[in-house]
């Protein structure tokens, strides 16, 4: 029995090894052929041209900007909502809002994409008087909404874990409740909040389907109101049709994405471990 359970335990390790192996093995050839610098820093992606160019800087930057933008919008709203739920809301209100947040987390990403495509994209075009609404901006909005639940729930957990003694001490010094929250509770919960943010970054960088439906998918260098391609959408949009070097290059993009994610995972692990160590 021991062996059987041991083997079950090994599946996780095995999976990660296989995934890593496949990502690296399928991603390296194209990079070797194109050249790492040309690949990472090339600004032009023309994968099917006679004289193809495989520069993925636009995708990398788009993913970074897109994620950054989503964090910029999502974190304040998420954190404030978490504060509201954890410290301010009357219990009855919190009991309504909290399941709402959970529900937000349960909505499939394609549904976000669908509504983004039908409602958000035309609205963006109209609001900003653009000829075309598919844009980095629309993608940022969708991503910001999608990462909201994870930021809220992780931050709320962290805020709830702040020892009440800290807050009592602050109140007893004549701080108002709000002052206490912002000067004591949030700083004390910062590593948990950071974990939520990093988790959000991971989600945002990895999201494909919803982004694909609103970003326009042109390999432009990122501009707020232009159609752009993320690392994820660069892979998924051409994968079906690709062959030869183009296909290999797509796997190389996936490798880059994979490395991004691994780095984020490690950071997340460190934050959480440090938090655990504090206790």
């Amino acid at each position: 029995m021991n062996t059987i359970f041991f083997l079950c335990g090994m599946t996780a390790i095995l999976s990660v090894v296989v995934i890593t192996l496949y990502m690296v093995l399928s991603g390296l050839p194209a990079i070797r052929e194109i050249g790492l610098a040309d690949f990472l820093f090339g600004k032009v992606w023309k994968s099917t041209a006679k004289d193809p160019q495989f520069g993925i800087l636009p995708f990398i930057l788009t993913s970074l900007y897109g994620t950054g933008g989503a964090i910029l919008l999502g974190v304040p709203v998420g954190l404030l909502t978490a504060v509201f739920l954890s410290k301010v809301a009357p219990r009855r209100v919190a009991n309504v809002v909290r399941p709402a947040v959970e529900l937000l987390a349960g909505i499939p990403s394609v549904v976000y994409g669908l509504i983004g495509m039908i409602v958000l994209v035309p609205a963006v075009a109209k609001t900003f008087r653009l000829a075309n609404g598919t844009s980095l901006f629309a993608a940022i909005l969708v991503l910001a909404i999608m990462i909201l639940p994870s930021i809220i729930s992780v931050s709320e957990t962290a805020l709830n874990a702040v020892p009440p003694e800290y807050e009592e001490a602050s109140l007893a010094l004549g701080a108002t409740k709000i002052e206490t929250i912002f000067k004591v509770s949030i700083p004390a919960a910062r590593s948990g909040i950071a974990a939520g943010v990093v988790l959000g970054v991971g989600r945002a960088i990895g999201e494909a389907m919803a982004v694909m439906m609103v970003a326009g998918n042109v390999a432009n260098m990122p501009e707020l109101f232009k159609s752009v391609t993320f690392l994820t959408t660069a892979v998924s949009k051409e994968m079906s049709y690709a062959s030869g070097l183009q296909r290999q290059a797509l796997f190389s993009i996936a490798l880059v994405l994979f490395l991004f994610i691994m780095v984020i995972n490690v950071i997340l692990g460190c934050i959480l471990k440090k938090k655990g160590g504090d206790k």
Binding site: M1, I4, F5, F6, L7, C8, G9, T11, A12, S15, V16, V18, I19, Y22, M23, G78, L79, L80, T81, F84, L85, V88, P99, V101, L103, L104, G106, I107, P108, S109, V110, V111, G113, L114, I115, M117, I118, I145, L148, T176, I178, E179, G202, I205, G206, E207, A208, M209, T232, S236, M239, F251, A254, F258, I261, M262, I264, N265, L268, G269
Partner: protein
């Protein structure tokens, strides 16, 4: 020592909170309510819109037929079935694996490094985005294992993806089983496996069920990982074994396909509404199980 302003009766006069601090308080409070409002408005807006657009498009014909290219009709029955098949097959595979891994971690493993490694890789799997699962699933299951784009390949891909969920929830509930149960059973001469089978697993069934529900939620919502592995087939197979070896689109995948590839927004919203109802049910079920769990201890 402070000197107090006193009124004629000798009572001290208490100054109000300074204007700056009061303004700060009000401002922040405003932001807090605003943020919560945004979150709720988003939710209400999203769900309201989905139902508003989707419910009128749900017809009996839609949910009870297969699409026909000849008759140019659309039905999502095959996709409903595919979703069911994928859930069934993935759970069937992932449950033994995930529970086994959790049992190994909590009951058997003695090597601290190995435990760390397994837990670390499990965590890592949680963070990998589904598009990468899709690609590796395509390379490994579809091409290397030569399963073709099929429900089986999709389910296997999902198995890896939801493994962490099952492992973690099972592990959590295994940890809540009191040590004294283990001692009691072993003290009677039970083997470890007998003890696990008769005492440990039955005591942690709730956690396992919670894990299943979460996993089902994940499977129902998944699209990117399935697009390249299970494909978009929409034919009613003769039976589940025939279904396993052919391409089959789940509801989420077909939502993407109908909306994005075919521009059939009515159908897309109908599927979205069905998905939302499923998600609501899943959340509700998870709550129920959790409540039962709390009552038990």
């Amino acid at each position: 020592m402070a000197n107090y302003e006193r009124d004629e009766t000798g009572k001290i006069v208490i100054p109000p909170l300074s204007k700056g601090r009061r303004a700060y308080d009000l401002l922040i409070k405003g932001f807090l309510y605003l943020a919560a409002l945004i979150t709720c408005a988003l939710l209400v807006g999203l769900i309201g819109y989905i139902f508003y657009r989707g419910l009128p498009n749900i017809t009996w014909e839609l949910v009870s037929t297969a699409p026909s290219a000849l008759k140019d009709t659309i039905g999502i029955l095959p996709n409903l079935l595919n979703t069911l098949y994928i859930i069934l097959i993935s759970l069937l595979i992932v449950l033994p694996l995930g529970i086994g891994a959790a049992v190994y971690l909590t009951e058997y493993a003695t090597n601290r490094r190995l435990v760390w490694l397994i837990e670390f890789t499990t965590e890592t799997l949680t963070g990998i985005p589904s598009i990468i699962y899709g690609l590796v699933g395509m390379l490994f299951f579809v091409q290397f294992c030569n399963l073709q784009t099929s429900i089986l390949a999709g389910a296997l891909t999902l198995v890896v993806m939801i493994l962490p969920t099952i492992v973690r929830t099972t592990q959590e509930s295994l940890k809540t089983v009191p040590e004294s149960y283990r001692e009691g059973a072993l003290g009677l001469g039970a083997t470890k496996w007998y003890m696990i089978r008769t005492i440990i697993l039955p005591s942690s069934i709730d956690g396992i069920v919670t894990g299943c529900i979460l996993a089902v939620g994940r499977i129902v919502g998944e699209s990117a990982a399935l697009l390249f592995t299970a494909g978009i087939g929409s034919i009613i197979a003769k039976n589940i074994f025939a279904a396993m070896s052919r391409s089959g689109g789940t509801l989420s995948v077909m939502l993407y396909v109908y909306a994005f590839e075919r521009g059939e927004f009515g159908v897309a919203f109908a599927i979205a509404a069905i998905l939302m109802i499923l998600v609501l049910c899943i959340n509700f079920a998870a709550k129920l199980v959790n409540r039962k769990l709390k009552n038990k201890f």
